[in-house]
Amino acid sequence: MMRTLYFLIGSTLIQVAVYAQPDAARPVSTSATAATVVTVTKPIPTDSTPMPKAFADLFYRDSTLRKGKQEKGALKINMDATYDRPFLTSTKAPVSIGGYLEANTQYMQTNGKTDGLSFQARRMTIFLASSINRRIKFLSEIEFEDGTKEINIEFAAMDIELTPLLNLRGGIIMNPIGSFNQNHDGPKWEFIDRPISSVTIIPSTWSNVGFGLYGKKYTANWVWAYEAYLTNGFDDQIIANGQNRTFLPATKANRDRFDESFNGVPLVTLKMAFKRRKWGEIGLSWMGGVYNKFQIDGLVLDQRRRVDVWALDFNTTLPTGTFINSEFVWASINVPATYTQQFGRMQQGGWIDIVHPLVKKTMFGWKKAVVNAALRVERVDYNVGTFAETGDPLRDDLWAIVPGLSFRPSPTTVIRGNYRYHWQTDLLGNPPARTAGFQFGFSTYF
């Protein structure tokens, strides 16, 4: 029995014939397992040539892949990123598979001191998806960070579509706060480092066990979408951690959050997004809940202390092909009054990425390869407020600027070089530590 799979490498479509049993008639064979894979390559189809549906989105997917042209087809927004990925699929196989890998080298220096050259395998992520039934889907995302230092199930959820405006989702979901948490795959970005505010104020990738709803209403020119979830949430490590600052990602050290809520109060996450063709997409999101253990067995330990995070995200592609993407976040944390001011009660941050295609043509045999110039400007303030003792501003903030160049032999692969310079000021406002360096790496879907 033979099944045909399709896979995209660069601009080449690969047709894969999988034989369930060894077959003497197959043109080429390798028999690593009971199944045998044969590959046949052929040129990529043109726009006028129908292509297998599994690959259609690769060419009409969201603009973060920097095609340098206006979107065609249905409008895609950040919330679609979960499924808007290249999968190896077969019309008969029950499961689609995909993933991405990113690795880099970097040389950074802080105030004249350096740890030298490092090579980093930041993450390898594997996607497994399945259409269980008509309008019932499953998708999972398993990530290996820094080799096997961290292995996480970032997403593993079942979606049931009742109507386009009403879908049910349950499992391990990514809380839809901001845009990056939903749309974070490495190959979509021209920068090796993730945006700082998106990983240190919003704890991307931030996922929890829970249930909720989402849906869309759309026409040919605009789409409006919403998401609403109840999940497990934060714990008190956000103000009791080795960072010496309020640090929401510290809660990810609590592995029990996939097993039980820290305090029995669900984290609520809501997002609305609107996109109009030629204008761009804007998203507003909020998540809030109680982070402390305020009672044990009915015995009151403390008042309920809330953490609330608001985010605003925006992206658009200009007629010149320049892509602008941004996210801004504000967090409010109820920290006990007698706890140290080192731990911020308010945090804020944001980033703007500007990516402009410089060259788009056939290069080194890759059709429609693109060279992009990119610039990120980012700002994070981990402690907004003033010292109780002096009225002077609390600092603990940073600015960063990251120019870069990227080369995309295909939409799904990026080779990128960044120069990073950032100024980090301590809580007291002493002269900033200046860090700068060069990073070079790649990220690719597979």
Binding site: Q109, A240, L301, Y421
Partner: protein
């Protein structure tokens, strides 16, 4: 674009980046602009121990899970001593409970230090009614190893309790009961079961281990094998610790921090040959400032070769002096009188703003916001010098202040 053109473009970028690397990477600040870093001539083994202590001092952040509190002042050493410099009002601590040389009568009520912060779920300490108190701004850590390497005999040689020379400046040591873990060295001198204190605002700590163990416990609520009891809030019932097994740091870590403090470099004077600075130093001496802020010292033997037989200029005599009613908070430690304060070292003074958030907070509680104000707030034994200072022409005062700014 032809392939070859693109290749040239890529290669050009690589070459440009390589050439520009030096310019694009932030350089180290000048050595004389920094307080941190080790003294020269440490052995590789000592450098490794310094690095261990550096990590413990600057990167160990204590949390409730690792023993912070339950009541505390700061969550790390570096919180109080940013860049090994002076602290700010944010980490200024409060000592209370002792008003004469008979000891602290509030030890059973949380003395001698107020822990004004608490981990979540615990209550911060409040000052007991009737307790005298004083507020201490954290000092810089630099050059402490050289001060620790001086002999008691050298320090006592400058004492003049009865003002025999009639200059109005006395200078007395603070004799301190040693903690159980104190191990006297060849240079320590015992008197009535007490030793000369040389660290802290009132010179209440005999050596750097004494100072470090106290700081772990009193500032951060961290227990060690040297002192294994958490600070307790006597304002509330229960008096439980933080629920973390004691000791919360190993003696190896405490000793590494002590070694780090011993081997931190001394602040380097900037532009010492500047004629204005030279003139300022002459004024400093002629105004008798140097009688307490003794400029030059030389160490004797030391188990760390880099600390042995070194001449250095801390501008302190490590003795107590009466600073007058204006600086008398009514609180004291050891046998010091309430108006008596240990002469603080002046080295690093000009870099204070780099650790105090761009401002300066001088004197024991940070009440002075400039060197000029700090000088004018001196009283007691310093009265004559302050009067001379006030009578200087503005240009002369400028020279003196310029000199102090280079320290």
């Amino acid at each position: 674009m032809k392939k070859i053109t693109l290749l040239y473009l890529v290669l050009s970028v690589i070459v440009l980046v390589a050439v520009a690397c030096e310019a694009l990477l932030p350089a180290a600040p000048a050595d004389d602009a920094l307080l941190d870093g080790p003294i020269a001539e440490l052995t590789p083994e000592q450098n490794a121990l310094f690095a261990l202590g550096d990590a413990a001092f600057n990167r160990d952040i204590f949390t409730p899970a690792t023993g912070l509190g339950p009541i505390f002042v700061a969550s790390s050493c570096g919180s109080c001593h940013a860049g090994d410099g002076k602290g700010t009002p944010f980490t200024t601590l409060t000592r209370f409970g002792q008003h004469d040389d008979t000891g602290n009568r509030f030890m059973g009520q949380g003395g001698p230090q107020l822990q004004n912060r608490a981990i979540p779920g615990h209550t911060a300490e409040l000052l007991p009614a009737g307790a005298v108190f004083s507020r201490f701004t954290p000092p810089a850590n630099t050059g402490l190893g050289l001060l620790a390497a001086l002999s008691d005999e050298q320090i006592l040689a400058n004492a003049d309790p009865t003002d025999r020379d009639g200059d109005g400046i006395s200078g007395v040591p603070n004799w301190i009961h040693a903690p159980h873990y104190f191990k006297p060295q060849w240079f320590h001198k015992e008197q009535n079961d007490r030793y000369v204190g040389r660290f802290g605002k009132k010179a209440a700590a005999i050596d750097l281990l004494h100072q470090t163990v106290n700081a772990y416990k009193q500032d951060m609520g961290i227990t060690s094998e040297f002192d294994s009891e958490d600070p307790i809030n006597y304002n509330v019932s229960g008096q439980a610790g933080d629920g973390v097994d004691d000791p919360e740091v190993t003696s190896a870590k405490v000793n590494a921090v002590v070694f780090y403090l011993r081997t931190l470099k001394v602040p380097l004077q900037r532009t010492p040959a500047d004629p204005m600075v030279v003139a300022g130093k002459q004024l400093f001496i002629s105004l008798d400032c140097g009688k307490c802020h003794t400029p030059d010292w030389k160490t004797g033997q030391s188990d760390v070769a880099a600390l042995a037989n070194r001449t250095f200029s801390p501008y302190t005599d490590l003795l107590l002096h009466d600073m007058g009613a204006g600086l008398d908070d009514g609180y004291t430690e050891g046998i010091a009188k309430t108006a008596e304060w240990k002469t603080p070292a002046l080295w690093g003074l000009g870099l204070s703003q780099n650790s105090q958030g761009g401002r300066v907070f001088l004197l024991h509680d940070g009440r002075a916001h400039s060197v000029d104000e700090a000088i004018r707030l001196h009283g007691g034994e310093a009265s004559r010098s302050v009067e001379k200072y006030a009578n200087l022409a503005e240009a002369e005062r400028g020279k003196l202040l310029r000199f102090l700014d280079t320290l």
